[in-house]
């Protein structure tokens, strides 16, 4: 439960405490240890239900806060839960990786300005980003590429997070 907020951790602990208390209470005056063991047995393996609970809450936290650390943690956690969900989260991981790589081009622009930008020519060619084939091509943005690429990366990041929030919800009828 360590990746969760203090409020979520407290909520889960209280709910489990309540469940164990109620379960043991309904068993009457049996041997307390035996009653507790039976309660824990019927509760199930924590690896089974707690992992789902934690991953679900982490994903909710990530899509509400737009925090990249929470998003990374949520994606890593949910990748372990379920085959289909794994593919969905791998796809989002690749999307975020692309956004991160794209935003890095703004840094590369400062290091190798002639190789990064928006390249065009008279024959309809255009390329946005890092290019090795710049002979005969004209770079039109100059250092405006830096704020533009950062702005695009921010917009894509927000859209990807909103999209992940949508995919996190089940379709309603």
């Amino acid at each position: 439960m360590s990746p969760l907020s203090e409020q979520d951790k407290k909520d889960i602990r209280m709910e489990l405490d309540s469940h164990i208390f109620e379960s043991m209470s309904t068993r009457g005056t049996e041997d307390e240890i035996a009653s507790l063991l039976l309660t824990l047995q019927t509760l199930g393996e924590p690896e089974e239900f707690l992992v789902q609970e934690v991953a679900q809450r982490k994903l909710t936290q990530a899509t509400r806060t737009f925090n990249p650390i929470h998003i990374t943690s949520a994606l890593l956690m949910n990748m372990g839960n379920g085959f289909i969900h794994m593919f969905k989260h791998i796809a989002f991981s690749l999307l975020y990786l692309f956004i991160f790589a794209f935003s890095l081009t703004s840094v590369v622009k400062l290091i190798v300005p002639s190789r990064v930008g928006y390249f065009t020519d008279n024959e309809g060619f255009f390329h946005f980003g890092i290019s090795t084939q710049i002979e005969g091509k004209k770079e039109v943005l100059g250092f405006w590429y830096v704020p533009l690429s950062i702005g695009i990366a921010i917009v894509l990041y927000l859209l990807a997070t909103l999209l992940m929030r949508v995919f996190n919800k089940k379709p309603k009828k």
Binding site: E15, E22, S23
Partner: protein, 122 residues
């Protein structure tokens, strides 16, 4: 012949058991919404109700991620209530949105049941 039968019967039982497990997992949210539409219940009470009214035999802890998911969808809501025992209970109840969705799910379920019945009788 006996050897062949001995091999086939356990495989069919296993298939049925897996199929039933998948079907039950699929309708568990539906069943939870039906139960909560009748009465506000706390977690352990809901599990007891499910076990007594259906033949669900899942690990009790698996209910909580489902409740959390329904709550995130705003189909149910919860609140903590202090008890004399000193151990508070978390009560769940269905929301208005949950009630509307449940009606649609019931309609959908009835339509599915009718289609299957028609297929069986053809």
């Amino acid at each position: 012949m006996l050897c062949i039968l001995l091999n086939i019967v356990p495989m069919n039982d296993n298939f049925i058991a897996k199929w039933e497990s998948q079907v039950k997992k699929g309708v568990l949210e539906f069943i939870i919404l039906i139960v909560l539409s009748r009465k506000e219940l706390y977690g352990y009470e809901l599990i007891t109700e499910l076990k007594s009214r259906t033949d669900y035999n899942v690990a009790e802890g698996t209910i909580y991620p489902i409740l959390n998911r329904l709550k995130a969808e705003k189909l149910i809501q919860s609140h903590w209530q202090e008890m004399e025992s000193g151990v508070p209970r978390k009560y769940y109840k269905i929301t208005k949105e949950g009630t509307k969705l449940l009606q649609l799910m019931i309609t959908s379920w009835d339509a599915l049941a009718t289609s299957i019945q028609r297929l069986k009788t053809k």
